[in-house]
């Protein structure tokens, strides 16, 4: 038996930070989520898989546009009209009800309700499969729903689908059906198909607890290759994962380290050479300068300029595009020992979720997109790096 574990297609998703790109490039990028989804369906049909799991966030929003709705309808129709059962659940982005969906449930299309429920399936080869899951009807689920998942049934290949994230110590982050790995492992299911986290990750090998990641990276924070898992299951329920990439293009942070002296005249060549050496396909690139301390403020200013970045594109392989730049300095803030000590002591109190929450409470109260952004796990670290850099630069300038 084989099935596809797909999540976070985010059809209709806008793409962040591309406003300065030429229209045709933007158009291509915008279409990429649909292209990725189509590739997945093509794969399912070509390989005659037994069923397909769509674990949430198929749409980017709870109000998908008619064109996305019709797109999904057509694609699901391709699956179901070829008698490939498809199990769809809604995630925190596309929290909605099946009535909101243009495509309707049928013999082969099953849509999970808000309540945890189990659907049974017998594959063509006669394997019994039980698939448990639920859908979001609001954008947040604060409860840990794993207790509602039934225990594994013997002789049946048990699959749990779950759109959510691991419990953290930060409760503001525990709003997407939080769970612990231990809970999932203890269910003794053969496979947990997770959605929500866009980075592909195997949380547990035995039993398999897997994030398939999204189908197409949409911003620089989604930089790994994207796609879905084909899960091959032997008669004795041994499952093997096969990652299938669907990305039209990937996002990649390309670190740049300048060894030579950088001037305005060799800057482009320095950047382009380093990028081309590091990309292997069509890539949307953030150039991340690792040692900005060797660059003059003018060069840094230039490298922040969109026009300059756009100008690099024609030199890049695979029609890749530079979409942003970032800077890191290797130099530490020069401080007296005691000051440094005070800074270090202060770090923990300043870069806290609470502090961030307090500062941004007005924004977070009103803008969910900012909530997600601000609460992403590595955001504080990023802020710290930037702040440090800023302080260093400023302090030196002030000196």
């Amino acid at each position: 038996m084989k099935f596809l574990h797909v999540a976070d297609a985010h059809l209709d998703s806008p793409f962040l930070g591309l406003s300065f790109l030429p229209d045709n490039e933007k158009e291509k990028i915008k279409r990429s989520t649909q292209v990725a989804f189509t590739k997945m369906v093509d794969y399912a049909l070509a390989n005659q898989v037994d069923f397909v799991l769509l674990v949430g966030d198929t749409f980017d929003s709870p109000n998908p546009t008619p064109s996305s709705q019709t797109f999904l309808m057509k694609q699901l129709d391709r699956l179901t009209s070829n008698q490939i059962p498809t199990y769809l659940s809604f995630g925190n982005h596309d929290y909605m009800t099946k009535q909101d969906l243009l495509v309707k449930e049928n013999e082969y299309l099953h849509i999970f309700d808000q309540e945890v429920s189990t659907l049974n399936l017998t594959t063509k080869a006669g394997m019994q499969v039980a698939i448990t899951g639920f859908s979001y009807e609001q954008n947040h689920i604060l409860d840990d729903l794993t207790s509602q998942y039934p225990n594994a049934v013997a002789g049946v290949y048990n699959i749990g689908t779950l759109h959510g994230s691991l419990k953290t110590t930060n409760d503001t982050q525990n709003v997407y059906a939080p769970f612990t790995l231990a809970e999932l492992v203890n269910k003794n299911y053969q496979y947990f198909a997770l959605g929500h986290i866009h980075k592909r990750e195997v949380l547990s090998e035995n039993p398999l607890v897997v994030y398939s990641g999204n189908l197409q990276g949409r911003n620089i924070n989604e930089a790994t290759p994207k796609g879905f898992y084909e899960v091959n299951v032997s008669e004795d329920f041994q499952s093997t994962l096969n990652f299938v990439s669907t990305s039209e293009f990937v996002w990649q942070i390309v670190p740049l380290t300048f060894v030579n002296e950088v001037t305005k005249s060799n800057l482009v060549a320095e950047i382009v050479d380093q990028i081309n050496a590091q990309i292997e396909q069509t890539t949307l690139i953030e150039v991340a300068v690792q040692n900005s301390e060797v660059l003059s403020p003018e060069i840094v200013e230039l490298m922040r300029d969109h026009d300059f970045l756009t100008g690099l594109n024609k030199e890049l392989n695979y029609h890749s595009l530079v979409v942003r730049s970032s800077f890191k300095s290797q130099a530490k803030i020069v401080l007296s020992k005691t000051d440094q000590q005070f800074f270090d002591e202060a770090t923990d109190s300043v870069f806290t979720n609470d502090a961030l929450a307090e500062l941004t409470k007005n924004i977070q109260k009103k803008y969910p997109f900012a909530v997600d952004y601000l609460n992403s796990p590595d955001y504080i670290e990023k802020l710290k790096t930037q702040t440090e850099l800023n302080l260093k630069q400023r302090f030196e300038v002030e000196d």
Partner: protein, 831 residues
């Protein structure tokens, strides 16, 4: 760090003046304008530079217009713990307005840093704020708002804390230019968020529009279902219509069936065999009748030829063989005659001497004999050869020509051709022959001459040349006689025969159908042959007639037989005659066809037939039903069209909506804006957190001192206020005091004097707290000049207290204060 010595080379009003400090608290007493403030300024300027900030007037005071060669001086400090001595010397240089600073550590010059690190690199402002207590700083302190004061209090203590504070403030300010929490703020991030609100509202509005899509889609499903149902109904009706149309056809068939069924005769019997026999009879009878007619005709025809006279013909035939024989004779006779006549003619032409001799009588012949003998004699005498003939045109030649001319003429006159030809050829031949024979020549001798004469005479007499032997003449003459006689006889015979023939012709002109007696014999012979033929035919006809008559009789008999047979058949089949029988046969065919047709229709009608017959079905009911179906169909059609129109409208709306990229564009716009907002937020947070970080860092730097400072400040404030305010609280945000009634009071609610005391207390407490890190003398320049004696007493206690941790230098113009504080010569310096 204790200030142990001030050495002024040139500064303000001082030249080459030194001050020594040995006690923790030193009072410098001098009247106004004695130079107390100059001394304070000197200390500051050596530490922080000659061109110091602050009052320009002051600066000018210390920087005379005419500068001395050496301007400046030095301060000597002693580090409490290490006991090291630091001498800071600062002198003005041409290219260094702030003066050149040198630092000596225990007499050895070291980098400035070595000293300044030990006072945490504080700046002039910090120094002013913390260590300088004069009217100006006190005034300034009073202008600081509470928060700033707190901030100052909080953050003092780190190296560069002023710079950090400065940076913190700048970051804070910059952050404020980016975003403010205030709803009405018009900072870029606020603006963008507002713009985002607008876009989100727009999106919501747009999405509401798109909800129509879902609603439409929900309308479409039942509409499609309805259409399917309607179409199914329509199809069913169509089938019904087809069925009814079929039934309608059946009804028509049934109507005709019924109508024609009536034409079926109930007891109609027809014997086909009889009929065929009758027809056969009729045909045979007809043939017989024809035969009879033909025979009769034949008989009639043969009677017409009876007019021909067989007897006359027979007579002619009988006479024919004789007359034909005669005719044969005639032909051979005429042949013979012609031959004879040709012979006669030839002789006439070529042997005229024979013809002449033949005409001679006995006498003449004797004469001739004699003459010939004479000639013979003469010839022998001369022995001369016979004279040669001369070529002359003799009479024979002329005759020949005449005959030929006659021949020619004969051709012209169309005389019988043979005769003409004979004349022509004979004439010419005769002429040629005669011309040859006459070519003889005479010999001119005597004998010859006599002979010639003789011959000439002979020729003249006889008209022919003398021959040698008379018999040569007599024999042919005799023959010629016989020829002439033969010709005469033949001519007689021919005449007789011709006569007989003419007679025959004339006798049988009519029989032989001749025009006249001149008719050519061959024609006659043909006619006779025809006649013979006719006679033969006549005979044959007679025989035939006999046979015909017999046949006729037979035929008539047969005819009678058939007529009887027919009559019998007619009677048996109840018809009068064949015509009737035929009619009946036709009727039979019609009936058979009808039966077949009816059977066929029965098959076609099938089960319907019964229904038609028992009137369950009828053309009327079918037509009615059909009409109903059609009406229903029309209604359905209308409904279908309506449905289609509705569906089509909806679909086009749906298409429009489905292809509406506005939301997507809006989404992208929102997304772009969100990205921008996040970037801005990042930038803002970086500033904001940078500021917080600095604050926190400074907090950490001062955190140990804080409670102690609060304690000290409370103590000092208590001292200064005479314990009117037993409780002083310093938080990160505010300073507040509690009075004896335990009321919480913020500084603005206190009297100016009390506020001064409060700040004094706070500041001194602060100096005390930072003294382990930043230890510099506290300079008090008539700061509490306005204090009443009671408070001055409090102040004394306070400063004594302070002096235990910090060096205090008190400048005063008040003698009571000088006296009070300067309790020994050691610590009182008079200016």
């Amino acid at each position: 760090m204790k200030l142990t010595k001030i050495t002024i080379v040139n500064f303000g009003k001082f030249s080459n003046r030194t001050f020594d400090f040995t006690n923790p608290l030193t009072v410098i007493y001098g009247a106004n304008e004695a130079g107390k403030s100059t001394l304070v300024a000197f200390i500051k300027q050596v530490l922080f530079g000659l061109t110091i900030k602050g009052n320009a007037k002051l600066r000018n005071d210390y920087h005379p217009k005419v500068m001395p060669d050496i301007f400046g001086g030095s301060l000597t400090f002693k580090e409490d713990v290490t006991d090291k001595t630091y001498k800071l010397s600062r002198f003005l240089e041409t290219n260094n307005k702030s003066g050149r600073l040198t630092v000596e550590e225990d007499g050895t010059e070291v980098p400035d840093k070595v000293f300044f690190d030990q006072i945490k690199n504080i700046d002039e402002t910090f120094f002013d704020d913390s260590f300088l207590y004069d009217q100006t700083t006190l005034a300034k302190m009073l202008t600081l708002n509470e928060q700033e004061l707190i901030t100052q209090i909080n953050y003092l203590g780190a190296a560069n804390s002023a710079d950090w504070l400065d940076l913190k403030n700048k970051l804070e300010k910059q952050a404020d230019t980016q975003y403010k929490l205030s709803v009405t703020a018009k900072k870029p991030l606020n603006q963008d968020l507002k713009q985002l609100d607008t876009l989100l509202a727009k999106k919501q509005e747009k999405e509401r529009e798109l909800e129509a899509f879902k609603a439409n889609e929900e309308k479409l499903a039942p509409l499609d279902k309805e259409l399917t149902d309607l179409q199914a109904k329509f199809t069913a009706l169509n089938e019904q219509q087809v069925k009814l149309a079929q039934q309608q056809k059946q009804a028509a068939i049934f109507a005709e069936y019924q109508q024609r069924k009536e034409q079926l005769l109930p007891n109609f019997v027809f014997n086909q065999t009889d009929y065929e026999a009758a027809v056969q009879n009729e045909a045979t009878s007809k043939q017989l009748a024809q035969k009879v007619a033909s025979l009769n005709e034949q008989l009639a025809n043969s009677k017409q030829t009876d007019q021909f006279s067989a007897e006359t013909a027979q007579k002619v035939i009988l006479g024919w063989s004789d007359i034909n024989l005669i005719h044969d004779h005639l032909v051979s006779d005429e042949q013979e005659l012609s031959e004879h006549k040709s012979e006669q003619q030839r002789i006439n032409n070529f042997q005229p001497e024979v013809v002449r001799v033949a005409s001679f009588d006995e006498e003449e012949i004797a004469q001739l004999r004699s003459d010939l003998a004479d000639v013979k004699a003469a010839r022998e005498k001369q022995n001369a050869p016979a004279p040669k003939k001369e070529t002359t045109m003799g009479p024979i030649t002329i005759i020949g020509f005449v005959i030929a001319a006659f021949g020619m003429l004969g051709f012209i006159l169309k005389l019988p051709a043979i005769l003409n030809a004979v004349c022509l050829i004979g004439g010419v031949a005769l002429s040629l022959w005669s011309l040859k024979g006459t070519g003889a020549k005479s010999t001119p001798t005597e004998d010859v001459a006599s002979y010639r004469n003789l011959v000439a005479g002979f020729t003249q007499k006889y008209h022919f040349d003398p021959v040698a032997n008379i018999a040569d003449l007599l024999m042919p003459a005799e023959k010629y006689h016989e020829l002439v006689k033969k010709i005469a006889d033949l001519e007689d015979k021919i005449e007789t025969e011709e006569h007989k023939i003419i007679q025959f012709k004339n006798d049988n002109l009519e029989v032989l159908q001749l025009t006249d007696a001149n008719t050519n014999w061959s024609v006659v012979a043909q006619k006779v042959l025809g006649l013979q033929e006719q006679i033969n035919q006549q005979t044959q006809l007679a025989q035939q007639q006999k046979i015909v008559a017999q046949d006729l009789e037979q035929a008539l008999s047969n005819q009678k037989d058939y007529q009887q047979k027919s009559a019998l058949l007619f009677a048996q089949n109840q018809v009068a005659n064949l015509a009737e029988f035929k009619k009946k046969a036709d009727q039979n065919r019609e009936q058979t066809n009808l039966k077949n047709w009816l059977e066929l229709q029965e098959k076609t009608l099938g089960k319907d037939l019964a229904s038609f017959l028992n009137k369950e079905l009828s053309a009327e009911s079918i037509a009615k039903q059909l009409q109903e179906v059609k009406t229903e169909q029309a209604t359905l059609n209308e409904q279908i069209n309506e449905n289609r129109q509705l569906g089509s409208d909806l679909r086009s709306t749906q298409n429009l909506l489905a292809n509406d990229t506005a939301v997507q564009e809006l989404n992208q716009e929102i997304s772009d804006l969100e990205a921008q907002i996040l970037d801005q937020m990042d930038a803002w947070l970086v500033n904001k957190l940078g500021s917080s970080w600095i604050s926190a860092m400074l907090n950490h730097a001062s955190k140990d001192r804080f409670p102690k400072m609060e304690e000290a400040a409370q103590k000092y404030f208590g001292l200064l206020s005479g314990d009117r305010y037993p409780k002083l609280e310093i938080t990160e945000k505010a300073v507040q005091v509690k009075n004896q009634a335990n009321e919480v009071l913020t500084p603005e609610k206190l009297s100016r004097g009390t506020v001064e005391q409060l700040y004094f207390a706070l500041k001194l407490a602060f100096v005390e707290q930072i003294s382990p890190d930043v230890s510099l003398p506290v300079l008090i320049d008539d700061a509490f000049v306005n204090f009443d004696p009671e408070r001055v007493q409090y102040m004394k206690e306070l400063l004594d207290n302070l002096a235990s941790t910090s060096q205090v230098i008190l400048f005063t113009a008040r003698p009571d204060i000088a006296e009070l504080f300067g309790d020994s010569d050691d610590n009182l310096v008079r200016m």
